[in-house]
């Protein structure tokens, strides 16, 4: 059994394919994986790496800066205003963003935007990191 998986950004549909498993992180819920037959679900995402295991066995990885995941029957939709396929992630830019955001967070630990930027940079780095795909910041 496969699920229809779609990544929808405001400008177009980034990815559309069939997958057997989708992993993401929701706000408050931590990492969550969807298999076929998951109950209808709508979750608000934190910046994270989203992995789609395709029917062929390939794993497609994306970095997502927040958004939503909606699961309905055999269809998983990720709505995000910023989603980048792992192949398009610029590692050095993500590193630089991470350093900058961490510095900002250090000077003001309540800076919500800096916290968000740290997560977003980590999400991008996680998407390109080799290994099991679990990002180091969890």
């Amino acid at each position: 059994m496969v699920m229809q998986v779609e990544f929808v950004s405001p400008e177009d549909i980034l990815y559309s394919g069939e997958g057997t498993q989708v992993t993401a992180r929701t706000r408050g819920g931590g990492e969550i994986a969807f298999l076929t037959g998951h109950e209808p679900f709508i979750g608000s995402l934190v910046p994270c790496e989203v992995r789609v295991s395709e029917a062929s066995g390939d794993v497609k990885r994306f970095a997502v800066r927040g958004g939503f995941v909606s699961v309905n029957g055999a269809k998983v939709t990720v709505l995000s205003d910023a989603a980048v396929p792992a192949a398009d992630v610029d590692a050095s830019a993500a590193q630089a963003d991470l350093a900058e955001a961490e510095a900002a967070l250090e000077s003001d630990p309540t800076d919500a935007e800096a916290r968000m930027n740290v997560q977003w940079a980590n999400a991008r780095l996680a998407a390109i990191s080799t290994g099991s795909g679990h990002s180091a910041d969890h």
């Binding site: 679900f41 709508i42 979750g43």
Partner: protein
């Protein structure tokens, strides 16, 4: 001097022909851009449809929470106007239609003692209102013919700042709706506060089958709080894309009219030029014939001696 009028007309025809080439090129460019803008508007649709879908599901789940973006104010007196038109002219009534309906709204508000803010999207909007000494809150431009989501986001952020801080009670969005290739109209739409969630869901007209019992994480209220700002951005982006498609469609039409006009003008000027040329030739012949007759009359018996052929060749028998 015979021939003078003809030369002037010939020069005018030349310049009209050049103008026609330019307007024709602009028409063709606008035509391809309309197609592309429509394509982009179509590509952007799934996102806002999906967002609306989530709202429908939230409404079905009974989430009607208190959110700043839903804060309704009775008799809104401080209103922000997001006026979306173009950076460039030569688009027929496109810019003026939007700007005029914006000015009408602002005048009506001021007549009622209200206070306005203008967020000018497009250089032409800024030019119009700053020339008339309106205070402009912020101005955006350089992207109206091809807006990106980031552009929409920048504007949405300012709109939310104004609304969240309570500086304005209401936000109106004025842009040109792209109904079809042949019809676009300037519209004034309520942008903020958003309608209650249940109304939004109803207007979305979604499929009832999707309203199965969803579970939400972190909670239906939490999802809604994350979702509404994005909904605002998506709506603004949709409006910008509509406006861009409308701008190109208007420009295409305006340039087609200009090209047709130039063609008419060329025909008219060519006729006038031909007439002028014919007239100058006729005048010349009349002068020659008149001159010849005058000579003939003067010299009496020698009239036959006038060599008509020579006269015609030189045009001035007395010069011999």
């Amino acid at each position: 001097m015979p021939g003078g009028a003809e030369r002037i007309l010939r020069r005018r025809i030349g310049s009209v022909k050049n103008t026609k080439k330019i307007t024709r090129a602009m028409e063709l460019i606008a035509a391809t851009r309309v197609a592309r803008a429509q394509q982009r508007a179509k590509a952007a649709r799934p996102y806002s449809e999906q967002l609306t879908g989530v709202i429908e599901n939230l409404a079905a789940g009974g989430a009607d929470v208190d959110h700043p973006l839903l804060r309704q104010v009775e008799n809104a007196e401080r209103v922000a106007f997001v006026v979306c038109a173009g950076d460039r002219g030569l688009a027929g009534p496109y810019n003026s239609a939007v700007v005029r309906s914006a000015e009408r709204e602002i005048q009506a508000l001021r007549a009622g003692g209200g206070d306005y803010r203008i967020l000018a999207v497009g250089k032409k909007v800024n030019d119009y209102f700053s020339f008339r000494n309106y205070t402009i809150d912020s101005t955006y431009g350089g992207f109206t013919d091809n807006p990106t989501f980031e552009d929409a986001r920048a504007i949405a952020q300012r709109v939310r700042e104004l609304f969240d801080s309570g500086d304005v009670d209401q936000v109106e969005l004025i842009y040109t709706e792209f109904v079809s290739l042949g019809t676009q109209r300037a519209v004034v739409r309520r942008f903020l506060p958003l309608e209650p969630v249940s109304v939004m869901a109803e207007e979305g007209g979604g499929d009832a089958a999707a309203l199965a019992g969803f579970s939400f994480e972190p909670s239906s209220g939490g999802v809604l709080a994350d979702l509404l700002p994005r909904y605002v951005e998506a709506r603004l982006f949709t409006a910008l894309l509509d406006a861009a498609a409308s701008e190109h469609a208007n420009r295409q039409r305006a340039m087609k009219a200009a090209t047709d006009n130039a063609e008419d003008l060329i025909v008219k000027l060519s006729r006038a030029m031909n007439r002028a040329r014919q007239e100058s030739i006729t005048t010349e012949i009349m002068e020659i014939v008149g001159g010849a007759e005058a000579l003939g009359g003067d010299s009496g018996d020698e009239a036959e001696a006038v060599d008509l052929e020579r006269v015609l060749a030189t045009g001035n028998p007395s010069a011999n």
